[in-house]
Amino acid sequence: MAADVSLFSIFMDGVFIRNFLLIQFLGLCSFVGVTKDTKSAAGMSGAVIFVMTMASVVSFLLYTFVLVPLDLMFLKLISFIVVIAALVQLVEFVVRKNLPSLYHSLGIYLPLITTNCAVLGAVLLNVMSEYSFIQSVVFGFSAGLGYTIVMLMMSGIRERVTLMNVPSAMKGLPHAFLIASMLAMAFVNYFKVIPL
């Protein structure tokens, strides 16, 4: 079904047209929670790109070679969650062992990726769009890249507006949402720019 879609259009689709944060609203908790400074936004995005790509690989193999032959498709939700939780644990072990400084700067955000709907969303969208192995991996990676771009833009903007004199009721989250609304206006228009 999705065999004729080129890898380039899947890539553009993941990064811009179906951008996870601004168009599909996946992973908003980290979007409003971690974008207060650029450094943690960048660390979080790196971890999400890695987990998303790996989860696409593992979940594709699990779905195609275990769940479909055994006719256990209704278990996909439960098994994908377990896969993602295990991957996050693995990433946590590796980072703690080899890069202790990065581990400390990421802090709580690393385990929180398990409940980040962006990762589970990417995996489920892969299954729903019936992507092949390569297509799933490209989509997982590009979705993570789109996430990173928006996280970096948002944290850059929020760092600059913290000292702005906004009405007290607008401080914090409401202000962040209005900024996101303007960013989303730009992303909505990619629908027309890049025909699929």
């Binding site: 709907c117 969303g121 489920l124 009721a169 607008m170 209005l178 992303f187």
Partner: protein, 205 residues
């Protein structure tokens, strides 16, 4: 009796999932393109929340503290799978409109948040009332946001085939049912809630 009622109202006012606890933002913004989708989504979430709260509080003495989160997630994922299959079979149009957000109820922070913060410490009946209150708060907010976006985005509100009202507009602002409108609506509503809270504090209530 008034105690039970207060417990119920707490989920709508003070512990309102969206404006009080700021949890579960993804479905709130993604599915509120119309009132109909908002109702469908909150019905699904309410079913999962009530069932998982009852289940968790009934099993809270048996669940070991160290592995409680994976167990909560498994309990929730089971009920979400039920909702997904029932919706696919009986309301296919709604199922297609909500798409990936039905399976994503499983990572909705509201549900695991209530399981961890409330159901794990309280009895079955209290947890049921808590789940009922929180789901009602969720429903109200979703319908409010969906109503605002549908009204300005399409110029009319239509619920399950009944046209509630139309507003005479030359060009409906399609912008409102696209993603920027969602951010704009929730940002504005949150600012209004903050403003009212600040006013209340000033009056010393």
């Amino acid at each position: 009796m008034s105690n039970v009622f207060n417990e119920y109202m707490r989920g709508i006012t003070k512990d309102n999932p969206i404006f009080g606890l700021v949890l579960g933002l993804c479905p709130t913004l993604a599915v509120t393109t119309s009132v109909e989708n908002a109702i469908g989504m909150s019905a699904g979430t309410a079913f999962v929340l009530i069932c998982s709260n009852i289940m968790v509080s009934a099993l809270r003495k048996q669940i070991p503290a160290s592995v409680r989160l994976p167990i909560f997630i498994l309990i929730i994922a089971t009920f979400v799978s039920i909702v997904e299959m029932v919706m696919e079979a009986y309301t296919p149009a709604l199922y297609n409109a909500l798409g990936v957000f039905i399976p994503l109820i499983v990572v909705n922070c509201i549900i695991i948040g209530r399981a961890e913060a409330y159901a794990n410490r309280n009895g079955v009946f209290d947890s049921f009332i808590d789940a009922l209150g929180v789901s009602s708060g969720f429903l109200l907010v979703l319908v409010l946001i969906g109503g605002i976006r549908e009204m300005f985005g399409t110029g009319q509100i239509e619920v399950f085939g009944h046209l509630l009202f139309t507003i005479p507009m030359m060009n409906p602002a399609t912008y409102m049912i696209l993603s920027p409108g969602a951010f704009l609506t929730i940002g504005t509503l949150m600012a209004i809630v903050n403003y009212r809270r600040a006013k209340k504090l000033e009056r010393g209530e």
